[in-house]
Each structure stands twice: as C-alpha cells, then as structure tokens.
C-alpha cells in the first residue's frame, strides 16, 4: 500500500525583519491511506505551517510533497484546483475559521458552488447531507456562526471540509478550543467519519492525550525539526528523544496515586530565526554535549521508530 501523502525534506522559511525564520526545516514522513498522523510539539514549532504547506496554502521553500504518489510540490493552477478538492483543512479556532457573514448553509455550500459540479438544487441536497453527517440540525441552515456554540461551529467547519469528498484532511488542533465534554463529541465524530469514508488525517495538536487517543502514527516536532516519529503506541511506550520524554512527562495526569517522575525543562528556547546547525533542543537538554552542535538526522533507532538525536542510543541504553 503506497502512502497517500508523503513529504520529503520539506522546508518552509519565512522572511521576517530579523532574518529567516525556519518554521519547517527538512521534514520527511508519509501517511498511509485511512490512517491518522498526529503532529505534536509546542506552540510555534511549525505544526500548522507544515499542514498548510502540504495542502498548498503556503508555498514550500524546498523539498517535495507527494499525493497519491504524484509529486505535487509545484502543481500548476489547474492541478491545484483538483488537488484542493481532495485535501482539506479543519481549523483550530472555530470562531475565526467561519466567515461571520455567511450562514451555515452558505459556508458549507461554498466549495460545492465553486467546484461547479453541483446544480443549485444538488448543492442544497448535498449541504443537507453534509449537515446530517456531522450532526447539525437542519433548522440551523440559516443560522450565523455567532449564533452557534463552539462545538457546533467546529462541526460546520468539518462539514465544509468534507464537501467534495476529500481524501485527506489536515486537522489543525480542531478540539483545542473546545471544552472537554464537547471535545469528546468532536473527536468521536472525526473517528466515525474516518471509518466511514476511509479518510486520511494529519492531526495537529499540542495535547498529547488527544494525539495518543486518535493517531496511528505520531511525529514530534521541535522548532521546525522532526525529532521523533513512530507508531503512536510505541511513542508513548518508548519515547526516545529527550524532548519527547520531557513532553510526555510534563503532561499532568489524573492518576493521583502514581506520582510520576517529571522532567522539568530548563534553559532558554532557541530562536527559530537563523538557527545554528545542530540540535535545536540542546540548550534545554540535560544530555547535551559538543556532539549536539552537529546537524542531527532522523535515524531508525528501533524498527519503524525514527529519532533525530545523536545520543539517543546512549541515553536510552539501546
């Protein structure tokens, strides 16, 4: 089975007044059809940027993107149109991701109308079907976003993303802004839809519990770099990269009886602007040595478990 989406050495730099900001730096991974790839990392590490570059909302600086085996890195406008029907995005903020001046129906119908594949009548029917699918009452067809609560808004965003039957959806923190009780509803919905339509997700989040729950595979990013990637269960069982370890240990747990060992990170965060080659985590890493000043590369440390750390074997006694 070939990967639905594959990126190779993908880079995205932003020009800023202070210099080149390396938002995504040399990232490679692939996602198989029907699977969910979780992307975790702290704020600003380039998760959203990665997702946006893949679906061509941003141009990549370097590297390649494959979709269904085809190199789509430099898709021409016609290909792009087609591509965008197959790749969609669901946003974090259910407030700013819906146009406040469009009704629920208009928002959901927009991609249908633009695609010109639907007659007015057909578009209405399709919108109705999508609304039913994501569980929004038909009576809300003409409601405006500000009349909806966050959960419902997020459902509208999902319905919009599902229009035209995409194959791949980037979910950019779709539940972070929602309350726990609602969060579970939306996560369940996403899972159901995936099962039903064999959707492929790239699930961006900083909430490790959520990513563990929903993902098949996980990429851990740190300041634009991919530092560790493997199957979801494997990652939580055997986190290898020091950053991943710190990350997992930092999650407060509701298990009040088993206090776990915390790795508290110290030290300042490296600036993503014109970063030096070498490990970007080293300033906060308890294990760093001069070796870490060399550029780090992803290595298959355990079977299908890739880590970008030159000392990973020493640290984990592999």
């Amino acid at each position: 089975m070939t990967a639905l989406v594959e990126v190779k050495n993908l880079k995205k730099y932003f020009e800023t007044p202070r210099g080149m900001l390396h938002a995504v730096d040399d990232v490679s991974f692939s996602i198989e059809r029907g699977k969910t790839m979780g992307i975790v990392g702290e704020s600003g590490c380039g998760k959203s940027t990665l997702g946006r570059v893949i679906i061509h909302l941003l141009d990549s600086t370097d590297g390649q993107i494959f979709f269904e085996g085809k190199d789509i890195t430099h898709a021409n406008p016609r290909q792009l149109r087609k591509l965008r029907e197959n790749m969609k995005i669901i946003f974090q903020d259910p407030y700013s991701s819906l146009n406040p001046r469009l009704t629920v129906e208009e928002t959901i119908k927009e991609p249908l109308i633009i695609s010109k594949k639907y007659s007015a009548k057909a578009a209405n029917d399709e919108a109705e079907r999508l609304m039913n699918m994501v569980g929004i009452d038909q009576r809300l067809r003409l409601a405006y976003p500000h009349e909806l609560d966050g959960g419902r808004r997020q459902r509208v965003g999902i319905a919009r993303a599902l229009a035209l039957n995409p194959k791949f959806i980037v979910c950019d923190e779709p539940v972070s802004a929602l309350d726990v009780s609602i969060q579970a509803q939306v996560l369940n919905l996403l899972q159901d839809l995936q099962d039903q339509f064999e959707l492929t997700y790239m699930f961006v989040t900083h909430d490790l519990s959520v990513v563990r729950h929903i993902s098949d595979d996980i990429c851990v990013m740190y300041l634009g770099k991919l530092v560790e990637t493997c199957e979801s269960k494997e990652l939580f069982k055997h986190p290898l990269h020091p950053y991943t370890q710190a990350l997992i240990s930092a999650v407060p747990t509701i298990d009040i009886h088993h206090k776990k060992e915390r790795v508290i990170l110290e030290g300042e965060i490296t600036s993503p602007i014109n970063p030096k080659p070498g490990c970007r985590f080293k300033k906060r890493c308890t294990y760093h040595t001069t070796q870490c000043n060399e550029p780090q590369h992803l290595e298959e440390v355990l079977p299908r478990h890739f880590v970008a750390c030159c000392r990973v074997r020493e640290i984990n006694h592999i």
């Binding site: 946006r52 679906i55 909302l57 792009l80 149109r81 965008r84 029907e85 790749m87 969609k88 995005i89 946003f91 974090q92 903020d93 700013s96 991701s97 819906l98 146009n99 406040p100 001046r101 469009l102 009704t103 927009e110 991609p111 633009i114 695609s115 569980g135 929004i136 009452d137 009576r139 809300l140 003409l142 409601a143 405006y144 500000h146 009349e147 609560d149 965003g157 919009r160 229009a163 509803q185």
Partner: protein, 295 residues
C-alpha cells in the same frame, strides 16, 4: 445530536435578516443612536416629500418682502430675495443630504476598493496605494476641493466629486486597517483551500467582514461632507444658485448674521442636526457592530 432545551432556541428565519436584526436590536438599546436614526429618517422624509411639506416653492422670490424675520407666513423668515427660508431648507435637505450621501458613497467605493486591495495584497500594492493616499492626504482638502471644482467647473456633480475626493483617504485607511485585521483569519484560508478565486475572496469574504468600521466612518463622513460643502460655499465655490443647499445658504447669509440672524441660524441648525444625527447614528452603529460585543 442531542437537542438540549438549554440551548438557545434558534428558529427558522429569513436569510440575512438575523444579522441585521441583531444590529438593529443593539441599536434600539442605545437611545442616542435611536434619536440619530429618527432624525435621519425625518430628514430623509423631509427630502422626499419636500413639495408637500414646503409651503412655498424654494425659488419663489418676493422682492417686496425681503429679509423678514420669522412670522406666521414665513416661519423661518425670508431671505434677501424674499424667498421663504423654511421652504428652502426643506428643499435644501434634498441637495445637502444627497451631496453628503453621494459624495460619501463615491469616496467610499473608491476608498474601500483601494483599501481592500492594499490590505489584502500587502507588499508593493500596499506601498503604492498607501503612498498615493499619503499624497492625497498631504494636500489640504480644501485645495483639492477648490482645484477640482475649478477644473471641472461648478455644479452639483462636480461639487460632489470635489467633496468626495478628500474622504477617499479615510475610507481607504479604515478599510485597509480593517482588512489587515481579518487578513490572517482562518476563514480566508478556508476559502483559498476551497479554490475560491481572489475576486470571490475579496468580494465575498474580505469586504463584507471589514465593512463595519468603514460604514461607521461613512456615517460620520456624511456630516463632514455637508460641513465641507458649507466651507466650499464660504469660498464661493460649490453648488450654483438658486439651489438651496444648506451650506450655500449659511455662507451666503453670513454677512447678515447680525441684522438677519434667522438667515444663518436656521440652515445652521439643520446642518447641525444632520451632522449630529449622523454622528450619533455612527457612534451607535460602531457599538452595535463591535465584534467584541458579539458572543
């Protein structure tokens, strides 16, 4: 999904009505905005039904009855040519309001387009447009108005253009700022990812969402334009007689401000009322449209 009775009931309603209704409801809670709205409506009614309201034709002269103070026949007195000032004011509302309205419309259409382009595209487009706006703004508005009305000659349309020109900068800046505010909102990205064309994005997503501050600015500009029209008449340009434009009336009568104060005072009061009303309405609109108040 589960229908909780606790959820605010959202009933079927006509499209588009709801937002309008929300704004209207907020407005209705603001007494000064309501007063403003009522006054504006009254003025518009006065303009539309001028022939029914005005007791005399606005240009009916009576050279034997000039400069008469208010009386039963002429409730606001007569002017130098014996014309009924009240009738002139009533008819004048047509010109003053439409000058205000049309000049603002004209300037806002241009200013909004420029501002939207500058804000949306940024970079060089932004630089060029904003420098252009800087240039226009650096030239005293009154000079621009004078120059335009001199180049184009006096007359209603030309006065309108002259007055509107200066208001372009404000509309443009407001629009640009507002567009910049939503430039990075995700619904624009969503539109892009839905293959929406740039034109569609600007017209359907950008402009409707950044329109509010411009609208507020526009209501205030109406007042400013009416005032500038008065200023233009002060310099002797502007609308041609016997058109009873308020600004022309007030500046025409200013030499008689002491012997015949009614000739200046009544049009002055009406200008003031209009500007006041539009500003009150604008203030109210600003509050009503304030996204922060939205839940």
């Amino acid at each position: 999904m589960h229908n909780s009775s606790a959820i605010t009931a959202i009933t079927q309603k006509n499209k588009k009505q709801s937002q309008f209704a929300v704004v209207l409801r907020r407005l209705s809670k603001n007494p000064s905005a309501i007063i403003g709205l009522i006054v504006v409506c009254l003025l518009v009614i006065m303009a539309i039904f001028a022939p029914l309201i005005a007791p005399y034709p606005y240009d009916k002269q009576n050279l034997l009855n000039t400069r008469k103070p208010p009386s039963a026949e002429h409730i606001m007195g007569t002017d130098e040519l014996g014309r009924d000032i009240f009738s002139r004011i009533v008819y004048g509302s047509r010109y003053s309001l439409s000058i205000g309205f049309l000049a603002v419309l004209f300037s806002n259409i241009i200013g909004m387009t420029l501002g939207a382009l500058a804000g949306y595209f940024g970079g060089l487009v932004d630089d060029i447009i904003m420098r252009l706006i800087d240039i226009i703004q650096s030239i005293p508005g009154i000079l621009l108005a004078i120059a335009i009305s001199v180049v184009l000659g006096p007359g209603f349309i030309n006065t309108l253009i002259a007055l509107g020109f200066g208001a372009i900068t404000m509309a443009c800046r407001l629009m640009r700022a507002s567009v910049l505010g939503i430039r990075h909102q995700e619904f624009l990205e969503a539109a892009i990812s839905n293959n929406a064309s740039t034109f569609r994005i600007i017209t359907k997503h950008v402009i409707p969402n950044s329109f509010a501050p411009v609208l507020v600015g526009a209501t205030m500009s109406i007042g400013n334009v009416i005032m500038s029209a008065a200023m233009l008449s002060f310099i002797g340009l502007g609308i041609q007689p016997p058109t009873p434009e308020w600004g022309a009336m007030i500046s025409g009568g200013r030499a008689l401000i002491r012997s015949c104060p009614w000739m200046v005072t009544f049009p002055g009061i009406f200008i003031m009322l209009t500007v006041l009303a539009f500003n009150m309405l604008g203030d109210g609109l600003r509050d009503a449209l304030d996204p922060k108040l939205k839940k």
